[in-house]
C-alpha cells in the first residue's frame, strides 16, 4: 500500500513564546515495497514526522493519505494503525506483560483477533526476530537489552503491518546487536513489507535503503537514491551530517590523487572499486 504525504506541517506549542515548527511543509510519496531512510540532525523533525504516519499526532496542516484515504479524516484510525506499524525509539521501554509471548500478543489482541490467532501471529513474529522458544515464557524484563529490543519489535510485527516505520531501531545497542536488528529489518523488507527507517547512522542507511530523505530544520532538504544524496557531500556536512565512511574515504583517496570513482558510498562498493582499480594498475604494469 502507498503512503502519500501532502504539505505536512506540525507546530509545537502554537500561540505561545515556545512556538516551534517541527515539520514544515513536507511532501513525498511512499511506494509499495520501498525501503526509505530518513536522516537528519537531532531536532530536524524526523521523529515528529513519522508519528503522523499512523495518526498518533495530528498535523497543524496538511494530510497523509493511505491508499488515497486521509488518515486524519477517517473514522477507522485503529484499522489504519494496524496497517502502518510504528516502532518507537527504545521500544523495549513499552514491554509490560508477564511473559514475552503475552507481550507480543498485546497488539494482535487489541486488533480483536481470537486467542489462538494472536498466539500464532506472535510466535511467527518472535521467530522472525530470532528469539528462541526458551525465551517466550520468560518475563521480558529478564532478557538482555538486545533481546528486549527484538521482543518489542516482534510486538509490532505480530500485527502484520504492510508498512513498518522504525525510529532509530539500532540506537543504544552494541555493534553485534546493531547488526542483528538491522539484518532482521532487511529480512522483513525482503518479505515484501514497505519499510521507513529513521536513523542518524549514514553507514546503516547507505547499506540498506533504496531511497533517502534528508530532513533539515523541519523541511525536506533532499530526496533521492543513496547515490544521488551521498554525491552532495558538502551540503550534507553543512547540515552537520557525516556522510558514510566509505564515501569519505573514497573522496579523500581521490583528493590524494588515487584514480577512483568517488561516488561509492557503501563499504562493499568501495572494496569493489578498489579491487578494480588496483587490479587495473597491476595489469598495466
Amino acid at each position: 500500500m502507498g503512503l502519500d504525504v501532502r504539505h505536512l506541517t506540525y507546530v509545537y506549542n502554537p500561540g505561545t513564546p515556545f512556538e516551534t515548527k517541527a515539520v514544515d511543509d513536507v511532501s513525498f510519496e511512499v511506494h509499495d515495497g520501498e525501503f526509505i531512510g530518513i536522516i537528519g540532525h537531532t531536532g530536524s523533525g524526523k521523529s515528529t514526522l513519522i508519528q503522523h504516519f499512523n495518526a498518533l499526532i495530528e498535523p497543524t496542516s496538511g494530510s497523509v493519505l493511505v491508499d488515497g484515504e486521509d488518515i486524519f479524516a477517517s473514522k477507522s484510525r485503529a484499522a489504519l494503525r494496524r496497517r502502518v506499524g510504528l516502532v518507537f525509539q527504545y521500544p523495549e521501554y513499552q514491554l509490560f506483560e508477564e511473559t514475552v509471548l503475552k507481550d507480543v500478543c498485546f497488539g494482535p489482541k487489541n486488533m480483536g483477533k481470537a486467542e489462538g490467532e494472536c498466539a500464532s501471529a506472535a510466535r511467527e513474529a518472535l521467530r522472525l526476530v530470532g528469539l528462541n522458544e526458551d525465551t517466550w515464557e520468560k518475563s521480558p524484563f529478564e532478557l538482555s537489552g538486545g533481546q528486549q529490543r527484538r521482543a518489542a519489535l516482534a510486538g509490532v510485527l505480530a500485527m502484520q503491518p504492510e508498512v513498518l516505520i522504525l525510529d532509530e531501531p539500532a540506537a543504544g545497542l552494541d555493534p553485534s546487536g546493531r547488526k542483528e536488528i538491522l539484518d532482521i529489518i532487511k529480512r522483513i523488507h525482503l518479505k515484501g513489507t514497505t519499510v521507513i527507517m529513521v536513523s542518524h547512522s549514514m553507514d546503516d542507511v547507505a547499506r540498506l535503503c533504496g531511497r533517502i530523505i534528508v530532513m533539515e530544520k523541519g523541511r525536506k532538504a533532499m530526496d533521492g537514491t543513496p547515490a544521488e544524496v551521498f554525491s552532495r557531500v558538502e551540503e550534507l556536512e553543512k547540515m552537520g551530517l557525516k556522510p558514510p565512511s566509505a564515501a569519505l574515504l573514497a573522496k579523500r583517496l581521490k583528493a590524494r590523487g588515487t584514480d577512483i570513482d568517488d561516488s561509492v558510498y557503501t563499504l562493499a562498493g568501495l572494496i569493489d572499486e578498489l579491487k578494480n582499480k588496483l587490479g587495473g594498475i597491476k595489469q598495466g604494469a
Binding site: Q51, F88, Y93, Q94, F96, F106, N110, M111, F141, M159
Partner: protein, 271 residues
C-alpha cells in the same frame, strides 16, 4: 492533557522580586498569608490586591499566569462560596426556600471567604512563579537547618524535593511516549467502562514504574560516583546571602501589615 500543570511553574526573569533571597521570599509569603487572614474587610483586601498587582508588575509576570493557578481550586472556591451563602444565619433574609436561606450577611460572608481563598493562592503563586525550584529548595533547606540539630533531616528533604521536581517533566514526557507507543500497538485508553479503562492503564503504568525505578537506580549510582554523601559538611556553589533589597522587601510587607491593622481599626468596609 498533562501539559497544563502551572502550580509551581517557574517563570524566568531578572526583576527585583526574582533576585530576592529565596529565604526572604518564603518568609514574606508567610507574612503575606498572615496579612490575608488578618484582614477583616474589603478595604484590607483591596490593599492586598493592589499589593499583588504591584508585585506582578515589578516581576513582569502577566496576570493570566497568576490566574491560571486558580483553575485547580475553582471548585473549592465555588463550594466555599455556596456553603457560606446558604449557611450563614442572619436577620435580614433576602430569600428563603426550605432550609436554604440567603441573607445580606450571608452574601457578604460568602464573597469574603471566596475572595480570601483566591488571594491566598494568587499570592503564594508569586513565590513559585518568581523562584526557581532549585532556589526554593535551597531556601527551605537553609530555613529548616537549625532544626537539623534535633534530628530533622533538612538537607535530605530538600534533596528529595529537588530530585522530585527535577523529574516531573521527565516523567510526563515518558508517559506521553509510552502512551503513544502502546497506542501504536492498538491500545485504547479512552473508551469503555471505568473498570475496562483502569485495566487499559496497565500497559502504561508497568513500563512507567519500571523506568522510574531504573532512573532512580541510575541517579543514585551517578550521585555516589561523584562522592555524594549527604548534607554534612557540604558547601554550596551559590551560597545564599541576604542583601539590602531583602531588607527593603521586609519593610514593604511590614508596611502592608500595619496598613491592614489600621483598616481593621478604622472599621471601614469591615464585615
Amino acid at each position: 492533557m498533562l501539559n497544563n500543570i502551572t502550580l509551581g511553574q517557574y517563570f524566568p526573569g531578572d526583576s527585583f522580586i526574582h533576585r530576592l533571597d529565596p529565604r526572604t521570599k518564603i518568609l514574606l509569603t508567610i507574612m503575606f498569608l498572615v496579612c490575608v487572614f488578618l484582614s477583616r474587610g474589603f478595604l484590607g483586601f483591596g490593599l492586598i490586591v493592589a499589593f499583588i498587582f504591584l508585585c506582578a508588575r515589578v516581576a513582569k509576570i502577566q496576570l493570566k499566569f497568576l490566574f491560571r493557578g486558580l483553575k485547580p481550586i475553582a471548585i473549592i472556591v465555588i463550594i466555599t462560596f455556596l456553603l457560606n451563602l446558604f449557611m450563614t444565619p442572619g436577620d435580614d433574609l433576602l430569600w428563603k426556600w426550605g432550609i436554604l436561606s440567603v441573607s445580606v450577611q450571608g452574601i457578604k460572608n460568602a464573597l469574603f471567604m471566596a475572595f480570601r481563598l483566591i488571594l491566598l493562592v494568587t499570592g503564594t503563586q508569586l513565590l513559585t512563579l518568581t523562584t526557581s525550584p532549585i532556589r526554593l529548595t535551597d531556601g527551605l533547606e537553609s530555613l529548616f537547618s537549625p532544626l537539623s540539630r534535633i534530628g530533622f533531616p533538612a538537607h535530605e528533604l530538600a534533596m528529595m524535593m529537588s530530585i522530585a521536581l527535577r523529574f516531573i517533566p521527565t516523567l510526563i514526557e515518558e508517559t506521553q511516549k509510552i502512551t503513544r507507543a502502546q497506542k501504536a500497538r492498538g491500545a485504547d485508553f479512552e473508551s469503555g467502562s471505568l473498570i475496562k479503562r483502569a485495566k487499559a492503564l496497565l500497559p502504561l503504568l508497568v513500563p512507567l514504574f519500571v523506568s522510574a525505578f531504573r532512573r532512580a537506580d541510575e541517579l543514585a549510582m551517578a550521585m555516589e560516583a561523584r562522592c555524594y554523601r549527604g548534607g554534612k559538611g557540604r558547601t554550596k556553589m551559590n551560597p545564599l546571602k541576604y542583601a539590602k533589597s531583602d531588607l527593603v522587601a521586609f519593610l514593604c510587607l511590614a508596611a502592608l501589615v500595619v496598613l491592614i491593622v489600621l483598616t481593621n481599626k478604622s472599621g471601614i468596609g469591615v464585615i
